[in-house]
Symmetry: C2
């Protein structure tokens, strides 16, 4: 193997990753899905990313630090400054992570009161009717739970009997202004909700106690719609071809959510009947299919959505196995393929609250791009294609066991492979790393051509030059020799792969450029570039910038913000304010249809060319 | 027969009644259910009760009249001044009747805009999506029908397909802010609603076009709950004894409403699927049973209702055979046995808009009494018992064929019998007439004792004295001799009947007195006494006042306002404003539980005594 990997374990989640020596804990955390706060951009000045090394702590760096001597002695380090040298166990305090809704709920306003879930329980004890108190049953209840509470037919029917059978007391379950349940006795401690991030490929759910905001568990499943098509376009096509496919696809996603709910409840010892609220964030197609709303119009110009405002449905109506009164909240959508996951991400990133203009990028098969300036936002989606997921790459694969996920081109090539097995192919992040590395070494020219061993710069280390192999009149760059590969064949970066990457990165970059222009901004005006989404978390910022996918701005302004859509889904589950905020964010965002922008084709063409030179180094390798 | 009845036919309804010669057309109209406007109290000064005699017009009276000579010549007469002499056909213009909602809608504000039904249709034609107009389907629709329109799950699902199948146009059906239907093409002309007056004994429905407010028909049925008990208390008892009775009773009233709807639709050539709104007014028990809300708590102190605010349910949820999206509106309730019918009546009577204090009385098995002063109201119900419906009266009967409905005690007795047949018994109005007549003749004393032939005043005509028959140590007054009666027996007013009447009238009067006291009023302060309800329409005001049931105020302030509950139900069907008004009226009304009022027993005892003397004559005999 080309790497000697080091195991880093993060507490309290217990997740482990294997990284190359010298990898910062910040980056290792990102690999493990632990997104740390880095307002200073990882320069070691703000002290927000502090973690405690409980086993294997390296000596603290000599550089000035926001940490006290006593803290350093106790094992506290800044994750951005601390590099892995041997196996470590790292304890991550909640306040250092970006992903804890609690932390955001507190940090953002510095005040309490942001925990105000839409679904909540209220204990009531009514005075029984008396000669001097002949209020109606409904008035009596509403005087206790809220005069403007709306009550549905079934609960109205049940009310008189329930009040009299249970001594005029009980627990009311509310969803906003709606009464969704009446229970005997005091059940106020048993109120739960689940937040779902519905990806095209993976569905992740998180269970929360809505009594105190405590996270009770996370579970995920592969999106069972995958057999209907890897990407949303193929699923839409299926619905267009055969209308019954909509009901099938809806059933599949509902089953996945039910399965996750079941697992979550079982593991947390919670009854599904005590789940009263569900929030879900997904792209336009996923959200519409979940709601049973025909996504066919997303399959043709001008890509029309069924809804734009947030939706709330009785969960039972969709077949969710929750309390029968539970509600499902689905995020507002912006337009075309800019859906609820983007709004959820915008909510999590507080896009309107930055002092300077901000660029938000969620990279996947579709890249969603948002530019925020003075509280107003422009949003677009751009079809990056599946290159980042390894598709259309000759030896590409998903980020699964056996995938090369990191490539460092030094005097020779150093690789990191997922899962401690022989490499079988390369995933999106490695593709970016390889291209950036070859560019820096002068092996790849500005047009994306891999130079032959003969054309390569004079000073190129022999080990690298030896990896340039001529084939069919072009050159491939060997990353893994056949003898080290799981397939028994070389694993190479092929000329065609570079082209695919140029197309994918170019599409994103062209989108970014166009939105910046529309907003009257240049990259230099940006206070931050926020990278969201699973893929965004794993890329090396300097490499993504080197191949031109990200604008040329200093690394300290390029920040990982983790799975922002998932965080947004949690936020709206835990706070009704966040739902209002989500609606507000949508209303302040204008959708830009890139395909209709006159400048897009030329921007795209231009973005295909690699930038001339590097900018700064992000300390990521 | 004691009477030579004259047939009076009213157009356009075509209803006929038989009345004694000299009966005013105002009173004849009341018998036929045609309630004319009499703001001047029937003194012939306001000219509001004008009707046109199309056949048999008597010569116009010489007295000064608001009618011009030309109008008189054309057959126009004031109904209050014109007395029946021979068979007549009378045409009643809509503006003279109190019962036409249209007339009220116009007269009350003198302006348009009061026809604003909650259920309405709206034609829409949307621009199809285009590259420069990629609004979501829902936003596109809402931009046309209202941005704040709420849309349920099923319609959201149907929307994309419907819009695309029908060229982006159609008809939206709205109920308030809710979208309740989407239809292809232009169906705006086909929107209907029905208003129901759910009496304990009879259910009456009226079909309206909600496109233009036109009345399309009236139909009624006996309330099929009658086998469960004549009055609401016995029906409540049944539910308390056996919980399944609630579902049975609900089913029965729903079936009655469905039957009436079917008849109405058939006769008007309307499809039940085009009925989108239903309003219903009834007493607390009837309303709660219709809604399936357990009325058991109305069967015991402190008589608690399930709801007090207006209710709106999906009609289909209750089993109504209307359009599946139709809504049912049920009136707010005030407290105890003061239910939605009273609120409906208060709405129709505009109880808060009179310059002087007003007394509203709806007489039935329960008497509902409302005193309005300066826009604030006090309401009570009083158990008058079934005497007015002929029950507990020895030879009493309902106001059906064969019932004596009117008694005039002159030199002898003159009677009016319903249906031109031999008399079989007497109904409530005749009971009041007889008691008042005997009081005036000095045959009945202030305590309610019928004097014997020997005790009767010296000047009493022989024919009357001959009717005083001693029996079992008391005296009965013979109304019909055996040879003229359908039963072959005398029909008499019995001592016990007088007692029952005293109890019934006394209960109402005690309630009136108590509410007046609570409001700080004396009868003299009242600007009007409004008599509502079927029974109220048929009594002779002077006689009801003579027996002490109504306060001692001039007849011109005692007005018939017809079936106010039914009118209220029509008003809320035709105008959303009226629904807000109904809620307002309820909020401004305080319920007074008479049984808990310390003064009630003594008021009741006092009201049992007949007033000393008569007041004025209402020109009713």
């Amino acid at each position: 193997m080309d790497s000697e990997e080091i195991r880093i374990t993060f507490q309290p989640s217990g997740r482990s990753v294997y990284v190359l020596p010298g990898t910062s804990l910040l980056e290792a955390g990102a690999l493990a899905g632990v997104i740390l706060q880095t307002p200073c951009g990882g320069r070691g000045t703000c002290g927000k990313c502090r973690v405690k090394i409980v086993r294997g702590a390296p000596p603290p760096p000599a550089a000035p630090s926001p940490l006290s001597a006593r803290e350093k002695e106790a094992g506290w380090r800044l994750a951005c400054q601390c590099r892995a040298g041997r196996e470590l166990v790292v304890e991550v305090p909640a306040e250092s992570t970006f992903e804890s809704p609690h932390q955001i709920l507190v940090s953002d306003t510095g005040a309490k009161g942001r925990f105000d879930p839409t679904a909540r329980k209220m204990r009531f004890r009514l005075n029984p009717p008396a000669q001097d108190d002949e209020r109606s049953d409904l008035a009596r209840l509403c005087d206790a739970v809220g005069r403007d509470v709306e009550i549905g037919y079934d609960l109205k029917r049940a009310l008189p009997g329930l009040l009299r059978a249970h001594n005029w007391s009980g627990t009311a379950v509310l969803s906003g202004r709606e009464l969704i349940g009446l229970e005997a006795g005091d059940t106020t401690a048993r109120v739960f909700g689940a937040a779902f991030d519905m990806g095209t490929t993976t569905v992740v759910g998180t269970l929360f106690s809505l009594a105190d905001g405590r996270e009770c568990g996370v579970a995920s499943r592969v999106n069972p719609q995958v057999p209907f098509g890897d990407d949303v376009l193929s699923r839409i096509r299926r619905v267009r071809e055969e209308h019954s496919a909509l009901a099938q696809l809806q059933e599949l996603i509902v089953e996945a959510i039910n399965g996750i709910l079941e697992t979550l409840c079982e593991e947390a010892g919670v009854s599904p009947a005590d789940v009263y609220d569900v929030s879900a964030a997904g792209n336009s197609t996923m959200q519409q299919i979940l709601c049973g709303l025909d996504p066919s119009a997303l399959g043709e110009v001008p890509f029309v959505q069924v809804f734009d405002r947030a939706q709330a449905f009785p969960a039972a109506r969709l077949g969710l196995k929750t309390n029968p009164g539970a509600r499902l909240y689905v995020f507002p959508q912006i337009g075309g393929f800019v859906g609820g996951d983007t709004v959820a991400g915008m909510v999590a990133a507080r896009l309107d609250r930055w002092d300077r203009p901000v660029l938000f990028v969620d990279i996947g098969t579709n890249g969603e791009i948002v530019v925020a300036r003075d509280g107003e936002m422009l949003a677009a989606s751009t079809a990056a294609g599946p290159a980042f997921e390894g598709a259309r790459i000759r030896q590409g694969m998903r980020a699964a066991a056996g995938a090369i996920e990191k490539v460092i081109v030094g005097d020779d090539v150093v690789l990191n492979v997922i899962g401690n097995v022989k490499p079988a192919g390369l995933c999106g992040t490695a593709l970016i790393d390889a291209a950036a590395g070859l560019l820096r070494r002068g092996i790849l020219d500005a047009t994306g051509r891999i130079l032959s061993a003969e054309e390569a710069p004079a000073g190129l280390p022999a080990a690298l030059r030896a990896r340039l192999v001529a084939e069919d009149g072009a050159t491939r760059f060997v990353l893994v020799r056949a003898e080290h590969s799981a397939t028994g064949q070389d694993i190479s970066l092929w000329p065609r792969d570079v082209r695919e990457l140029q197309l994918a990165a170019g599409a994103i970059r062209a989108g970014i450029n166009l939105l910046l222009k529309r907003a009257g901004l240049t990259p230099g005006d940006l206070g931050a570039v926020l990278l969201a989404g699973a893929f965004g978390n794993f890329i090396r910022r300097s490499n993504a910038r080197r191949i031109g996918m990200l604008p040329q701005i200093p690394c300290d302004r390029i920040r990982f913000i983790g799975n922002a859509a998932s965080l947004g889904a949690k936020l709206v589950l835990l706070s009704a304010d966040e739902r209002r905020y989500a609606s507000e964010m949508r209303d302040r965002t204008r959708h830009v249809d890139l395909s209709r922008e006159p400048g897009f084709q030329s921007e795209f063409a231009e973005a295909m060319l690699y930038p001339e030179a590097d900018f700064d180094h992000c300390g990521e390798e």
